[in-house]
Symmetry: C3
Subunit: 497 residues, 3 copies
């Protein structure tokens, strides 16, 4: 059966792509460091030209590529655990990301135009990938429960909301969030959860038996887990300079290590037979959630929970503590909270609340605390570079003192308490934007012509992809062999499979 | 059954390896920046020594490693989609690449000797990987239809032809092709397609039912797709300096994004049920091709199509347009052209014409156009660094003017039109070398003692690898269940499996 | 059945994690280049501050991340080849590594404290990953034959022994081993093999039929193989400076290439049907080993065998020779030595003797030879930077001569012969520590409350993980098809599949 009227999806997407081309044509230019005709790039360094070896692409590129792997392989494969939704998981992940990175480049550009032109560079690519992360987290919450068309509409809307929320938090509130725990993880998680709630129908409830995994689909999923785990320090550190970047790498590395060890311990502790949990033994929708993937997901919570704090002076032991808390909260969440929420129709396919939502809140709250404790004693003058709003005001005595040692831009002379308050404001705004935005976008997605999947289409590739002859692994032989042999007695039968 | 006489393959390969050792022993030395005894490396930088932190390995290494991943994981896994040829795909990919990178280092060295010695460095490793790409593309065209011995012979011959073709294009014609779209993709694709045509037999036609995929083999294949997709900017940018590299990264990123979105739309549009195409539902050889893997392959065409143009001033919108065209052409190619070609015995297992051939031609033609439009207005003096032959002639007035700002080597003072013509010449030569070379090598490979696979060996691991007890996935249950039920009549049987 | 008493594992691991937090709290600080409050980091470079762009994290990070991928994806997936132990392989690999990197950071810190504080930086993270490699190699030898609790205890003990051994070799003996072939590979392999021998029981022998692979589990394993292969140059070169690093990359690249080509040839030569070996056709424990995975493992032996030599002046041809020998020895080892050893109860699940043990010994011996041949003629003054103990003694005439050109620390004025002798001492000590250590730790692990797996738990995920409904791939169809054929009596059925 056709899952949507011929061409509706294709038309929407082609129109979007053409709109992107037009908008790029009107607005997008290379930034100076990528523009051959900028005179600096055509001169010898000794004559004031840009040094080719010191082009900013070289500084950022390795970490950018790590983040890029996280988006496509990390998120894409993490979601392949479903036994009948593997093509869609990894395929739609690719589609959505390819669409979002173009649209996020434009939206980011609109919020930061100079002379009517956007100037694209490696930072544009990196931040567009970050915005894609928010959308992919939401995708995890609605996974298997939307049509491709709904996904595309959701992504287009979410990019706008996410970029505006980030702009409010960073530019207006001057809140800091180096690893994007608030602006990416909290936003993406709660936006997606609310959308999933609005879209929840009886059809989804009925598709319960498809929510499980098979042995090899879980191993595919571990590819995603591991690449996310490995490259998370790059996610948290890519935009930080110098010692901040170094610190962000160290903190994230140890937070993840502690989180992983803790998640294994707690996962085993909560199972009555002390087994670890990687897969879901499906019996009903609620118990599915109950048995959801601790090891695939909770091991990563430390990376989220340390995100806002990554470049702060939390010391290696602080990173371990954050990881310890995140691993514990995340496993408890999968075990008890997700099934409880599912009972009130908050169905969260990948459990993004446990991997991104709650750990993101931990990060946000940790950020508030850390900001309130940050002093020149702990940070030296670096304080004013990390918390830019805390830099002294222009022409204040303090400002004149500081700039003798370090060239910084003047700030607002904020106190630690004020910075903490603005951190809280950013967290609150993010939650609010995510929830209200999710509600509105969810309602929009219920429009009938967006083809919400029917029961047989939920968590199922069949109607969206040309399938191989053998069908799904495991299930093929099941259907084939469970013939009622009693009925066959005395009859001549030809079975064709 | 033994697939080739005992030791024939082993002997050939061992002899090759020993020849490589001897040739390395006679000719290969470290380049200065990798040689401990070069005096510069034993002196303090302040005394004219080489700065360890600025060694060229540091500049190139991250992008080199990305390309390295593309060769082994990217190409290797992209080809695992076949249900009965997974070991061979990923295994022979490893073998061939390991062989080719040694031989390509030598061939590259022969074409660029100094004082009877080759000087190997990180660039040698990178360009040897590029040559491997050409061979692996050809491998995609003949996949499943050659013996390991034929593959090895093909690889050895192709390296020579490919390196000579590149030398003609780059050194003699001074054509530019930053992403290797002509010298790697066009060459590899058409060489492979012609070899496959020459090797085509009735046996291959009969093996049709093995050409399909199973659910998990397609997901394995997506590992390859994604790593190729992610790291393609490194492929196109690794050898470019400064702002050129920055631009090549940006252009490739956007070309791939647009190509992917377009490929999804067109794939859905061309299916009568609007499904996406990842797998092949096999009924006959022609229709297989008909249903071949759009998402696994066409999403990548943008990277090829932007290759020659990657470091040029095509602007972000230009990159999107290139991606848009490539995605469209590639999906149409898989849908209509591949089956049409198969009918005239051009059997192209992976459809490399659609992923590398036609997108490579788009790149080559795009390069001609872009070269004809390149002016000092668009590029500044960078024009003479990107199109080296366009640099003014030695001691011309123009040359004296330019070197006041930028130290460049004198060129031929070529006009834009002349450069465009030489680009066209390089493209034509590449096509010619690929087709004629493919023809000759194909004929060579038909020599009987090279053990072309028989019908039962086509697209089948069985004769080439020790197999696990359970056999191929999916097929195990099939074989198990095909019990002769007639024999069971009247008997009490316990089947234990 | 519960595999261990409720909570015993969880408690042990939680206590360890809390101990780590406390020890980190007491001892661990950031190194200067990661510490915001170090005044240098708060000053403009022009006023003596640290240049953010030149932070050491930037130099090391790309290669660190490559090594990080090797630990988690490389080792983790390499071990997924077992058909019923995939979750444990990749899951416990993650657990053990996350635990070890914390503990190794502490142990490394204890051996190198300044003023009662450890100073963590990117080098700490990298060397902790190296220590994890040793533990993961041992894990390969005992794979499937220990409980999670035994694994954790083994890891904790091995880290101490491994760090002490490395400290003796590097700091006391001043032996060089750039790629860690002795301190990581030889140590990890023989420690693990001895532990496996001590733990060997009849139960393990009985579990023979589970030791095989299935088709897709072997392809999963190739993910590990390839990422190890690709990133091995980073493993061998990460800690080397300048031209040494460049040389280490080149040498490792060519050693791996030659090793791979040779392994394919020898694997085919040793099979009576000239097939390649990727999988194990299981009939009994000994023959399993007999058919073990050449291509997945032996292709990597070149990286180990060139490790100690990586930064030495062995020239590209020398690297090829090392690879050639390693590939040959490794395949012969899998074919003949492993089954022979298994007969005397040295059961080595992954065959780490062939991938890490013997190639590590080759590297160690190669290092002795290369050290004995190293002269100022071959290395220039770099000799004193590579073999630090060979640097002239303080205030010797030679020292005064050298420091006019190159600032080096004074050494012991060792001769080439003396350096070779100390290399041999380090190799011998490593072997001794590994064997004695493995013996003691093995005995410790036999304590009954550590829950050594019973027969049904050997090489089996079932008791350690919540399993998916369908069970293991392949087995699903088995259970389903055991229909009671008695019921069919008297009926004529034609089944076509």
């Amino acid at each position: 059966m056709a899952c949507f009227k011929r061409g509706k999806f294709a038309l929407t997407v082609l129109i979007l792509q053409i709109v992107f081309i037009v908008l790029f044509g009107v607005f997008a230019d290379y930034s100076d460091s990528a523009n051959a005709k900028v005179r600096k790039n055509s001169l010898d360094p000794s004559k004031g030209g840009a040094d080719p070896g010191a082009n900013e692409v070289a500084d950022i590129y390795p970490m950018f590529q790590d983040v890029h792997v996280m988006m496509f392989v990390g998120f894409g494969f993490l979601m392949t655990f479903l036994k009948r939704y593997g093509y869609s998981s990894v395929g739609f992940n690719l589609l959505i990301t390819a669409l979002v990175i173009q649209w996020a480049s434009l939206m980011g550009g609109f919020l930061d135009m100079e002379g009517g032109k956007m100037h694209f560079n490696i930072i544009t690519l990196l931040t567009s990938d970050f915005t894609a992360a928010a959308v992919l987290i939401s995708f995890g919450a609605v996974l298997g429960k939307t049509s491709p068309l709904q996904l595309v509409i959701m992504a287009v809307c979410e990019v706008v909301l996410s970029k505006v929320n980030e702009w409010i938090g960073v530019t207006q509130f001057k809140a800091v969030d180096m690893g994007g725990s608030m602006f990416v993880h909290v936003f993406g998680a709660y936006f997606g959860i609310v959308v999933a709630r609005v879209l929840y129908t009886r059809d989804i409830q009925e598709a319960e038996q498809k929510e499980g995994s098979v042995y090899h689909s879980d191993i595919f999923s571990m590819i995603g887990t591991l690449f996310l785990w490995i490259y998370w320090p790059s996610f948290n550190a890519a935009l930080a300079p110098g010692d901040d970047q170094h610190r962000a790498v160290i903190n994230t590395y140890y937070a993840l290590a502690a989180c992983t060890v803790t998640a294994f311990a707690v996962s085993s502790l909560l199972d009555e037979e002390n087994r670890f949990n990687m897969v879901s033994i499906v019996s009903n929708m609620v118990s599915v959630a109950n048995n959801m993937v601790h090891i695939q997901n909770s091991t990563l919570a430390g990376g989220v929970a340390v995100g806002t704090l990554a470049d702060m002076m939390i010391y290696p032991w602080g990173a371990l503590v954050v990881g310890f808390i995140a691993g514990t909260v995340s496993v408890f969440g999968y075990k008890y909270l997700t099934p409880a929420l599912a009972r009130v129709k908050f169905h969260d396919t990948c459990g993004v609340n446990n991997l991104h939502g709650m750990p993101g809140l931990i990060a946000g709250i940790g950020g508030i605390v850390a900001a309130s404790l940050a002093t020149e004693d702990n940070y030296g003058y670096s304080l004013y570079q990390i918390f830019q709003a805390r830099a002294p005001e222009l022409n204040s005595t303090k400002y004149l003192e500081v700039i003798q040692d370090l060239h910084i831009e003047a700030g607002d002379g904020r106190s630690a308490q004020a910075q903490a308050a603005w951190q809280a404001a950013a967290l609150g705004t993010t939650l609010g934007m995510a929830i209200v935005g999710g509600l509105l976008v969810g309602l929009l997605l219920r429009l009938p012509f967006l083809n919400q999947p029917r029961e047989d289409q939920v968590l199922d590739d069949t109607d969206y992809w040309e399938m191989p002859e053998e069908g799904f692994p495991g299930s093929a032989s099941v259907e084939i062999c469970t013939v009622d042999f009693d009925k066959l007695k005395g009859s001549a039968i030809t079975t064709k499979i």
